[in-house]
Symmetry: C2
Subunit: 333 residues, 2 copies
């Protein structure tokens, strides 16, 4: 099975992307890598590492889509970009299981729908990252930002898709599904969330446990948190902000107390580690015919490694087939 | 000037409410307190402290509204509740400047509109707490949860009301206004937030600086963060959750390293202190004809003290008059 990777997307591309992906090869067997991007640049980066050459391929792409470009027109115009070539490789190569990019989220969403396509019957694909909790585990947040404008029936599908993903890739048994809302009581929320609550209660095959507030995001009370893409994005970035904020305060407080820092270093670093939402990889895009994963734009090598392994898990667990079966009762091949 | 306080509302009422309010008397001159609630209970609590008796009054109220009750019917049915008696006192007593309650948010919102009334022309009153930032300062978040369903024109008014409040009570000069959105680029957001962005750009009298993401909530890049009440609530509770999460992780990590904790205690407590969003008081309800403040349900005495001083600042700064003037160009008396 092949994992295709956009070598040129992200703030730290190509160096950290290639370094992290190569490191993943040593952590797990049973897959190989296909890098897309400028062949000469990739070859130069690859020459820095020793690895099993039979497990690495390169597909040349002459262009790069940047974050400044309008997603739809960029995907249409730059057909030889590392992102589009990667998506085409995923689509055409029957051995390719997943595509990863740390580039433009908008371009990946648009390109994913355009080149890979939705599972027939899926209303809206959704981004589903794993956010850390205080117990060292994860909660899947779905949708974390693919769909700013949502209808309640989209949220019901997000719950089903994320449940299928949790079972397939994380081997969770009967994962608990919560609805991100502005209070825990059953009647809370705007009209759309009130409707979503009613729909989720009736949705078969999921284990809906009710409303969850922003303050409990990281306490692991549920395995899956369903959200509209707008407030889901606010929540995701708040978790990110929490890590950033705590890092900044710790730095500020311990700069004048270096010895104390050295003494408590192990514990302080563990705090930062638990809050680091990048350590669980990227955000999978659920609802497409093949696995597509968005890695954070600022991903360093360790995040890329985690993202590659996350993609391998998603493919090996047959996430797409599980989603299809849960939504429509049949396996699409 | 009198600050009226619901002595019976909140998880730690009446003890912490009365203790905190009495402590505020010693911190500032120029105001007195009116407690509403069961007279005998309040008298017993007051007997625990020594204070200037001329600055404290009690108004008996035989009932209490709980969080479990439906707000509208509770406010209508329980006319002799500490909350309703407090609101009536604020309305009728010309010396009363503000009312504070740590009780049911819904009942306070409903009762505030019913008994105090909106400033004429205000579309929706909004909750506006001060959230902490890493520099030790604050950002006003408006709306933090009064209006789950918002239209873009509400958000434009929130920006104006919060600007007036920032100037009046916090003495901010030309406060920077950001819009909580799912990205920093100008075109981001669902349709309502795109419209709000356009409206905020054209709104006179405010210093609009553009979109702000959830990750930058606590970095103090803006003085005022405008939000719809749904995602504003998610953001507020995420900040709260950040403090809770970090507290839980620190406890977990340092339980097995007590000596290290003792050595780094000062810095660790400062981290918790900066993240404590309660230390700046409660959430003022902007847009009413008099000042109403919601204190957090779990408020301890120190939070109540901060909330009383916050209410004094709001009244002394003539917040209501500033809002009226900024919105409609005239002072309502």
């Amino acid at each position: 099975m092949k994992i295709v990777i956009d070598a040129m997307g992200g703030d730290n591309a190509p160096r950290e992307i290639i370094k992290g992906a190569i490191a993943a090869l040593k952590k797990r067997k049973g897959f190989s890598l296909v890098f897309t991007g400028n062949e000469a640049v990739i070859a130069k980066e690859l020459s820095l590492y020793s690895y099993d050459k039979s497990r690495v391929q390169v597909r040349h792409a002459s262009e790069v889509i940047t974050n400044d470009e309008a997603p739809t027109s960029a995907v249409r115009a730059k057909r030889d970009s590392s992102l589009v070539v990667g998506l085409k490789t995923l689509k055409e190569d029957t051995e390719a299981g997943a595509f990863i990019s740390a580039g433009s989220t908008g371009a990946l969403l648009t390109g994913g729908i355009m080149y890979i396509g939705r599972i027939s019957g899926v209303k809206r694909p959704a981004l589903c990252p794993a956010i850390p909790n205080v117990h060292g585990g994860i909660t899947l947040l779905c949708d974390a930002g693919a769909n700013a404008d949502c209808k309640s029936e989209f949220l019901a599908q997000f719950a089903v898709m994320a449940t299928a993903y949790a079972k397939a890739a994380y081997r969770m048994d009967n994962p608990k599904v919560g609805l991100l809302n502005n209070g825990t009581e059953d009647h809370k929320g705007d009209i759309m969330h009130q409707e979503a609550f009613a729909l989720l209660k009736e949705t078969r095959g999921i284990n809906f446990v009710g409303n969850v507030e922003g303050r409990d995001l990281m306490f692991g009370d549920c395995d899956i948190l369903v959200a509209d893409g707008f407030s889901g994005n606010v929540a995701l970035k708040s978790v990110e902000g929490c890590g950033k904020t705590v890092g900044a305060i710790l730095k500020q407080e311990f700069t004048k107390a270096k010895i104390r820092y050295l003494i408590a270093r192990k514990q302080i670093n563990e705090v930062k580690n638990i809050l680091d939402y990048n350590r669980h990889g990227g955000a999978i895009l659920l609802g497409l015919k093949k696995t597509v994963v968005k890695a954070h734009g600022s991903s360093k090598a360790s995040t890329v490694t985690a993202t590659v392994l996350q993609a391998v898990d998603a493919v090996e667990g047959r996430t797409v087939e599980h989603i299809t079966q849960m939504l429509f009762g049949s396996i699409e091949e």
